[in-house]
Amino acid sequence: MSEAALLHDDDFALFGLPRRFELEPAQIEQRWKALQQHAHPDRHAHAGAAAQRVAMQWSVRINEAYQRLRDPLRRAAYWCELHGQPVQADSNTAMPPAFLLQQMQWREALDEARDQADLQRLLHEVQAERAARLAELTDAIDRRHDPAAAARHVRALMFIERFLDTLHERLDP
């Protein structure tokens, strides 16, 4: 009897996708649904207890992989981890001085923003920076295969995402 090897595969292999950063969201989603169509506990509701336990285990594993793959930043962080460069977002907060300076300027701009127009200007600036970083991240993973550089970009993008959340709250409370 063969071992349930697939269950312990990495997320990309489990979903039958190449190990890259640029992936079609629609494709990830379609793969998720196809796998759950076989694994979800509801598909085994009238089967035996053993089958229900296995279904639960698989369904949880598929959802875990889906959550990681569908979020670009988590997908990139996972890729870094698979290639020996864990992002360590909590412990490794050392960022280049230029980046920290930019962050401080954005925070000040947010504090001083008086109207929607000010906030919109700031939003465009941050979104432009985010797009540029994402391009560099794509380059680091898909073309240069450089996990160390990719991990740095992921950390920077995590800062940017957090700032965008704060900004969105101000724009649309």
Binding site: A4, A39, D42, A45, G48, A49
Partner: protein
């Protein structure tokens, strides 16, 4: 009650025999039961041909026959006996007295409530009643209706809950079913059930928003429908907003018209119930009258006073309530990062969506008319019946798969009363998250973990779910133990916790103390009290249940062997055959415990086989996809 069919030992019942599975909409103001009959899902009427069962239970003094009234009889007695006639019990499910006081619900109830062992209880002439017991009385009535209709025992039910229900409220619903002797196949979110009803009937695809304004709860779900898959993208709602609030707003306004400064709360229970009933009638009359005005009789000590009411006045009186629903809709869209134009259609659910003020407001927000071709009162029960039919295995060709998400974030209390989020809301379920803890004292063998639900950062602003006590941790030096706690949320959205010390592999015992609701022991005790007069009944029931479960297991194993027996070596096959024979022998006897243990032995002995089958199935799913891509 119909008798269970039991086959002769060694004989199997007809595998094509249909199992009676129903969908139950356990609503705030009314409940329904539906089933698939001759391929069509429909509501089951009572003997008088009425589909709706008012969610009202009246308790009579001890010694009365019957001891209680459920439904229309209870509703009719509401004005005469408000203190013992319990309506809107759904608002009390999984809640403490402090909760419902904070929501302003407690002050407006026509009956007396107090704090009990596991949350709020209702004081009645027949003693204190928990919301779980009262809901169980409603469920038992619907179960009886289903069993009478089919002249057969109920296999199981899908019971719907608001998408916004937290763990305590879901657990309370499940406890009520257990108490009523109803096997829960699945708890299903109400808006999702509505979409199932619409999706299958209309073959809809795309993003759909379900706007469900019932008697006491408001729910919004944004769903993505694609080829039989119902994915909940985001949910929101308000568990204390519904048609009842429109009645109250109207009653308050009408009273103000005849007696400035008066409050509905100043009226005695009887006058209040009368005024609310009349406000409701006026509201419903206005929904059908078009532009012509209606009247409302306000009961005052010296007689009724007539107040005229037109559509424009009603719109102004209830505008704030309607706006509150639209705010929730906008928040859900924002959570999902979509705009109103991305939504392909809006489905209206709940009797309160018959109000033109609601339909107009929704039409205006989305720039298109909502879907209303199914009966808004019945659509949830119909969808639940379709799902129940499939879960019971009556529709093996069915492609319907529901992928659901957790409605509220789950967190644990950390130092300083802060919340560490462990499962963010809108995570697809089932899901699991492991978290490592350590001991802070030498030789520590127990620890407590406080689980909360909600989106805020401080424990006091979130809802306390349960305290899990881990016991039996092997004594070690402080900080040396590594206890991995696994939080699992099942497909019903209910939390399970297990814990293991990593260095020794010792499994810790987990004791759950729910912050609200009943402990397992309390439910078991209630069940025993129910059977106390019939000891023999209980023994018989245990034997019947054990045999049914054994038969279920044997049938599942046989069909698995027929499909994938080639995965087994000769020895593995012989071991499973031996376990099946042992179970067949046990099932022929009268010992329920022996049957149960043989069933469990077969379940355990087929675990590796089940894992191998799943592996093959997933491999096929991936291979099928590779072919698609060519």
């Amino acid at each position: 009650m119909a008798l269970l069919q039991i086959s002769e030992p060694g004989q199997t019942p007809d595998p094509h025999q249909r199992r009676v599975a129903v969908g139950i909409d356990l609503g705030t103001t009314h409940s329904l039961v539906a089933a698939v009959r001759h391929g069509v899902a429909e509501c089951l009427p009572d003997e008088q041909g009425r589909n709706i069962l008012p969610s009202v239970v009246r308790y009579l003094p001890p010694g009365s026959r019957p001891a209680r009234q459920v439904g229309y009889d209870a509703l009719a007695a509401q004005v005469d006996d408000p203190a013992n006639t319990i309506s809107s019990v759904k608002r009390l499910m999984g809640r403490s007295l402090a909760d419902i006081q904070a929501q302003g619900v407690a002050a407006r109830l026509p009956y007396a409530v107090t704090e009990g062992e596991g949350g709020v209880v209702v004081r009645t002439v027949a003693g204190d009643k928990t919301p779980v017991e009262i809901s169980a009385d409603i469920l038992a009535t619907l179960r009886q209706r289903a069993e009478d209709t089919f002249d057969s025992d109920l296999y199981g039910a899908v019971i719907t809950v608001p998408a916004y229900f937290d763990d305590a409220q879901r657990q309370a619903t499940k406890d009520a079913a257990r108490l009523a002797g109803v096997e829960v196949l699945r708890l299903l979110n109400e808006p999702t059930a509505a979409a199932i009803a619409y999706g299958l009937d209309n073959a809809a695809e795309g993003l759909y928003l379900v706007y469900d304004l019932g008697g006491g709860t408001f729910d919004v779900s944004l769903l993505r429908l694609t080829r039989g898959v119902f994915e909940v993208v985001a949910t929101g709602g308000d568990s204390a907003l519904g048609g009842d609030d429109y009645d109250r707003a109207l009653a308050d306004w009408a009273l103000q018209q005849v007696c400035a400064g008066a409050q509905t709360a100043d009226l005695d229970a009887r006058a209040r119930a009368t005024l609310l009933a009349r406000a409701r009638q006026a509201k419903e009359a206005l929904s059908h009258s078009g532009s012509s005005p209606v009247t409302l009789q306000v009961p005052l000590p010296d007689g009724d006073v007539t107040v005229p009411l037109d559509a424009a006045q009603f719109e102004a009186i209830t505008r704030e309530l309607t706006q509150r629903t639209l705010t929730v809709v906008r928040r859900v869209l924002r959570d999902a990062r979509v705009s109103t134009t991305d939504v392909q259609g809006v489905v209206l659910v709940g009797g309160s969506t018959r109000m033109p003020v609601v339909r107009d407001a929704v039409t205006q927000l989305f720039g298109r008319a909502p879907l209303t071709n199914l009966n808004p009162d019945e659509v949830v029960a119909i969808g639940a019946a379709i799902q129940a039919n499939q879960l019971a295995g009556n529709d093996p060709s069915g492609e319907l798969l529901l992928l659901d998400v957790i409605p509220l974030s789950l967190g644990i209390e950390t130092m300083g009363g802060l919340v560490e989020r462990i499962v963010p809301r809108n995570t697809p379920i089932p899901t699991a998250r492991a978290q490592d803890f350590t001991t802070y004292r030498d030789g520590q063998t127990a620890m407590a973990i406080h689980v909360v639900q909600g989106e805020r950062d401080r424990v006091q602003d979130c809802r306390s779910l349960a305290r899990f006590e881990l016991r039996g941790i092997p004594p070690m030096a402080a900080g040396a133990a590594r206890i991995r706690v696994t939080f699992t949320i099942d497909a019903d959205g209910l939390l399970h916790v297990s814990a293991r010390e990593q260095t020794t592999g010792v499994e810790a015992r987990v004791d759950v103390k729910p912050s609200y609701g009943l402990t397992d022991e309390q439910v078991t005790r209630m069940l025993q009290e129910g059977f106390a007069t019939a000891e023999e009944d209980m023994r018989q029931r245990a034997l019947i249940e054990a045999r049914v479960e054994a038969e279920r297991m044997l049938m599942a194993t046989r069909s698995a062997l027929a499909a994938d027996g080639d995965l087994l070596t000769a020895e593995e096959r012989a071991a499973i055959d031996a376990l099946m024979q042992a179970l067949e022998r046990a099932r022929a006897g009268d010992d329920a415990a022996a049957i149960d243990s043989a069933t469990q032995a077969l379940a355990k002995g087929t675990e590796a086989f089940a894992a191998a089958r799943m592996n093959r199935s997933i491999a096929q799913a991936l291979a099928g996809r590779a072919v698609d891509q060519l």
